[in-house]
C-alpha cells in the first residue's frame, strides 16, 4: 500500500516538474556552449500533461478509433509477445541453472559467457534476426525470441545463485539422509532459491519488455506498441501529444509485467526473507 502511495506521489512530483519547467523555461530551450542542454519549453516540443491525456480520448486519425483504444490494443499485443518470450526465456534459464548446478563443468564453461552476455548489447542483434521473420517463422516469433533472449540471462544467473545458496550444513544434512541429487534439488535447493529467483524474474521481465519493444521496431512488426511509438513520433511536429500517449502504453506494459511477477511472488514468498541479487 505504501509503495503504491509513494509511486503516486512520485508521479505527482514528476508532473509538477514538467509543468513547472514549461512555466519558467525558455520556449527556445537553453543553449550552453553551443549545445542545447535544456529542451524547448513550447507546446510543440513539450505538450501540457492535460493535452496528453485529452489526446487519449480523441480519434487517432480523422474518423478513426480513439487513441486510447489504439494504444491499449497495441499494448496488449506486445504484452502477449512479451509474455511468450518471457516464459520461454525464464524456462530455458531455469533449466540451464539446474544443469549448471548439477555439473560444475557446465557452470565453468557457460557461466562466464552468460555473465558477459549481460555486459554487451546483444539486443543490437535485433535488426539482424529480423531476417528470420517470414522464412523461418512468423514475424511475432522473432520479437518473442529477442524478448526471451534478454530475459534468459538474469534468470539463469539469479537461479544459479539461488540453487547454490543453501549452506553446507543443509547439504550435508540431506546427504546424511541418503537423499540423492534430485531429492536434494526438490526439497532443499528449489525452495532455497526462491528469494533469489523473484528479483531475477523482475529484472528479466523488464528486460523482456525492452526486448519486445526494440524487437518490434527492428522487425517492423505491425500491431505492437513499438511500431506505434515510431509512427507517432514521426508525426510529432503536427501532433505533438500523440507520441506521449504511446509512451503511456509502453509504461503500462512495463508496469503490468512487473505486477504479474509480483503477483506470482506473493503466495510463494510469504514468511520468507528478501535477498538482494547481483546478477553480474
Amino acid at each position: 500500500m505504501r509503495r503504491v502511495l509513494s509511486a503516486v506521489l512520485g508521479l505527482v512530483v514528476l508532473i509538477a516538474l514538467w509543468e513547472g519547467y514549461k512555466a519558467v523555461g525558455n520556449p527556445d530551450g537553453t543553449v550552453l556552449f553551443g549545445v542545447r542542454v535544456l529542451p524547448r519549453a513550447d507546446d510543440l516540443s513539450m505538450p501540457h500533461v492535460s493535452d496528453m491525456l485529452s489526446r487519449l480520448g480523441r480519434p487517432e486519425l480523422t474518423g478513426g478509433r480513439p487513441v486510447w483504444q489504439v494504444v491499449l490494443s497495441a499494448s496488449l499485443f506486445t504484452l502477449g509477445i512479451t509474455t511468450a518470450g518471457f516464459l520461454a526465456g525464464a524456462v530455458v534459464g531455469l533449466l540451464l541453472a539446474v544443469a549448471m548446478q548439477r555439473f560444475r563443468v557446465i557452470e565453468r564453461g557457460l557461466l562466464p559467457y552468460v555473465i558477459l552476455s549481460q555486459t554487451v548489447p546483444l539486443v543490437a542483434l535485433a535488426p539482424l534476426i529480423a531476417g528470420w521473420s517470414g522464412t523461418v517463422w512468423p514475424e511475432w516469433t522473432t520479437v518473442a525470441v529477442i524478448a526471451a533472449y534478454l530475459a534468459f540471462f538474469p534468470v539463469a544467473v539469479g537461479m544459479l545463485r539461488g540453487l547454490q545458496s543453501p549452506q553446507a550444513a543443509g547439504v550435508e544434512l540431506m546427504r546424511s539422509y541418503a537423499a540423492g541429487w534430485w531429492r536434494t534439488l526438490i526439497k532443499l535447493r528449489l525452495p532455497a532459491s526462491l528469494p533469489y529467483l523473484f528479483p531475477a524474474l523482475r529484472l528479466a521481465g523488464a528486460a523482456a519488455v525492452v526486448g519486445a519493444v526494440v524487437g518490434e521496431i527492428s522487425t517492423g512488426t505491425r500491431g505492437g506498441i513499438g511500431r506505434l511509438i515510431i509512427e507517432y513520433s514521426r508525426e510529432a511536429t503536427s501532433d505533438p501529444a500523440k507520441v506521449y500517449t504511446a509512451m503511456l502504453g509502453a509504461a503500462l506494459l512495463g508496469l503490468v509485467v512487473a505486477a504479474l511477477v509480483t503477483l506470482l511472488e506473493l503466495p510463494l514468498m510469504r514468511h520468507r526473507r528478501r535477498v538482494s541479487v547481483v546478477t553480474m
Binding site: R108, P121, A124, P127, S218, P240, G254
Partner: protein, 254 residues
Amino acid sequence: MNLLRRVAPPVLLGIFALVAWELTVSLGRIAPFILPAPSAIWHELVAQRQNVWEAALASGLNALVGLAWGTVAGVLAAMAASRFRLLSEVSIPLAAVLNALPIIALAPILNNMFESTSSVPRRLVAGIIVFFPVFINTLRGLREVDPTHRELMTSYAAGGWTFTRLVRLPGALPFVFTGLRQASSLAVIAAVVAEYFGGLQDGLGSRITSAAAFTAYPRAWAFVVGACLLGLFFYLATLLLERIAMPWKTRLIS
C-alpha cells in the same frame, strides 16, 4: 594449475562453438541473412575497422557521458535520500517502479525535444537508465551500517558528518560499484540501441540498421561485434576502477 582448470572450459567451449558455427553455415549453406559465417564476419570487421572504430568512438562517448552524469546524479540522490528518511521511503518504491518501464522508449520523445542533430537525447536516455541501478545500490549501501561500527563511533562521540565521512561512505563503496557494474553495461546498450529510434545517426546502432537495410549482413554483424567489444571494454574498465578504488577487496565478482 588451478587457473588452467578455471579458464580451460569456457575457452574450449568458445573455440568449439566458433568452429561448429563456421561448419554449420558453410556446410549447411545457410544464407547470410539468417546467419553469416564467423569467417565472413571477421573479414568484414577487418575491412571496415576504420568505420567500426569511428562509430564505436561516437557510441562510446555517448555512453560515457550518460554513465558519468547518471552516476553522479544517482550517488547524490542516494546521499540525499539516506539523509532524510521520508525521502528514501518515497523514492525507493518509485525508483523500483520506474526501473520496470522500458526507459529506452523515451528516446523518440527526447529526440523531439532537442534538435535532430543533437547528441543530447542519447546521452540523456543513457543517463536515466544508468541512474536507477546506481541510486538503488548506493542507497542500500549508505543505509546498511554494521551495528558494531555504529556503537564504536558512538563511543567516540563522533556523529553526523564525521560518521558519514569515516563509516558510511567508505562502507557504501562496494555497493556503489555493484550498481556501477550494471550501469556501465546498460549505458553502452542504451547508447547503441537509442539510435534504432531515430535521431542523430553517427554511432554503432545506426551502422547496424543501415547495413541490415542494405542486406550487407556480415557487415552488420561486424558492427555488432564492435558494439559487444565496446560493452566489454566498459565493463572491464569498471572492474579495473573497482580494483583501484577498493584495494582491500580480494574478490571482485561475488
